[in-house]
Subunit: 291 residues, 2 copies
DNA sequence: GTTTACGATGCACAGAGTGCATCGTTCGTC
DNA sequence: GACGAACGATGCACTCTGTGCATCGTAAAC
């Protein structure tokens, strides 16, 4: 039994497909097939059931999967722990798209200056994917908005951030000195796609005030939301950090009067994985970041 | 990091010597040196401190040692668990020399008949060595005499066995109808070497009756004790199972009157290791063995 | 100073793992 | 019902890694 075989095996188990797994592994499909064959030969029985369109784990495969994961995690962490000098190494950070471009660059720059030997790897993805990556040890830290279904993960709230109402410059509400949430109710909303938690934040905040925002458009980037608002497709709510970077004069931002909509930004990590000094340091910088 | 590297590493750590470890591993010393070098290269630091006469673990090495052991154990057990069909496989049994030849052959024969596909491996060694082997997962079961310092090990008493007084045929006590322990006190003893727990059993039993047997001779095999007794070098105490196999008429066995000296035979195993159905079966046969 | 113990290094070789090309089988589709 | 696509298995040639043998370098022991 070789470690590579276990890595290969896990990937095939994950993808349910030799060809796809081989691509992931940067390996030819025949090589992968043979590697699994050899593993099965050693175990005296198949670990996969080959169906015509996909493969699934046998009983033996299920057992092997959990043990292989365990073993590779231990070795990965051991290596990280031994090579941990607090200066060099790797920090893999994930962030949701509505945070990444507004919050991360500053922290990354600061961190890179302070730890020039460190390698920073950033992944931008949805909350669900980030949590999965974090659980599987593919990233060390994830920065996202609460609430999260954080099974087996640890998190720490970093700060709370106001969501600002964004309006086209010529919108009726612009001249109103105090805008309450109820004032917004009649207007259509421009929101991000459903996979984005910011939409959930906004919708759930509105729902607490018992109104359901009407989403006229769904887009995938905050910048696009801002542009669509400028073009009077609707109004929206934008995190304060995204407003800071907005140079345009074709839209205006207003703070909602009364209880203000907000989101809580948190950092998440996997407490079962070794936390290198570099990772700890990154978390420290996140905490210390002015907001 | 490769599994072989970890195996090599552990052996060197155990032996504190590359050359010796290489012999154990059936590998040339240069190959071993290079393998460790590569491991150290990957970890970015040495795992051994090379002194002129021996090598010792560095801090990193100590960490790696425990993790490597853990990993190899998991994989070993996983393989055992997957390949466990209750019929084929391997059972590694250890026994102390004063039990092995008298008790094991019958059990082994019976077990081999019942499980013809199974491979039986028997190791004869002292209690200390067997417990060490069991802890390290080098054997699956150990059969020995209580008491044992059984840290992290589980044990189950199998039966209690009387220790019989053995005398030369022409000994003064032979004609005595009832021999009490005090009657034996004046006579010199033939005992096994100090590493054998049977000597401990005998000595501690006598000490409870507040006398210290005088050992005139120390030998390494029960058969030799029996022969020396025949030659009137002294008297001794012999487990009942060893008497059964004794065909000679040059010595006689007597049961001590009063509280009889005895030893408790137990089977020991490592509860942290996977117990295959074959191992369980072997334990069952041990329990069921008539005594 | 000489010998001994022990790990490191140079060099050549064998075998395991890999990639490419291709095959065999089973669905899905026209 | 024949054809094509998806997917894993197999044949073959090659390369690269790990290994053994011979030898070296160094420090302790005699």
């Amino acid at each position: 039994m070789e470690l590579d075989q276990l890595r290969y095996f896990l990937r095939v188990a994950e993808r349910g497909n030799f060809t796809r797994a081989a691509e992931d592994l940067a390996l030819s499909q025949p090589a992968l097939s043979r590697s699994i064959q050899k593993l099965e030969e050693e175990l005296g029985q198949p670990v996969f059931e080959r169906k015509t369109r996909s493969v699934s784990l046998t009983e033996a495969g299920v057992l092997l999967q959990s043990r292989a994961q365990q073993v590779l995690t231990i070795l990965d962490d051991t290596k990280a722990e031994i090579t941990d000098d607090g200066q060099s190494g790797r920090v893999r950070v994930g962030a949701i798209p509505t945070i990444a471009p507004y919050f991360l660059p500053d922290v990354l720059r600061q961190f890179a200056t302070e730890f020039p030997k460190a390698t920073l790897i950033v992944q931008e993805n949805t909350t669900d994917e980030l949590l999965k990556s974090c659980t599987q040890g593919e990233i060390d830290l994830a920065i996202l908005a609460l609430p999260i279904p954080a099974k087996y993960l640890e998190f720490e709230e970093l700060f709370e951030e106001e969501l600002l109402l964004v309006l086209p410059v010529d919108h009726a509400l612009v001249s109103k000195p105090k805008i309450r949430l109820t004032d917004v109710e009649p207007f259509p909303f421009v929101l991000l796609g459903e996979a984005h938690c910011l939409s959930d934040n906004i919708v759930s905040f509105c729902r607490q005030r018992s109104f359901q925002p009407v989403a006229v458009e769904r887009t995938s980037q905050l910048a696009m939301v801002q542009e669509l608002v400028s073009l009077s497709h609707g109004v929206s709510m934008i995190p304060a950090m995204a407003r800071k970077l907005d140079q345009s004069d074709r839209r205006v931002y207003r703070s909602i009067d009364g209880r203000k909509p907000a989101r809580k930004i948190a950092v998440v990590w996997n407490p079962y994985r070794f936390q290198s000094r570099l990772i700890e340091a990154f978390r420290d910088r996140l905490r210390a970041y002015p907001h």
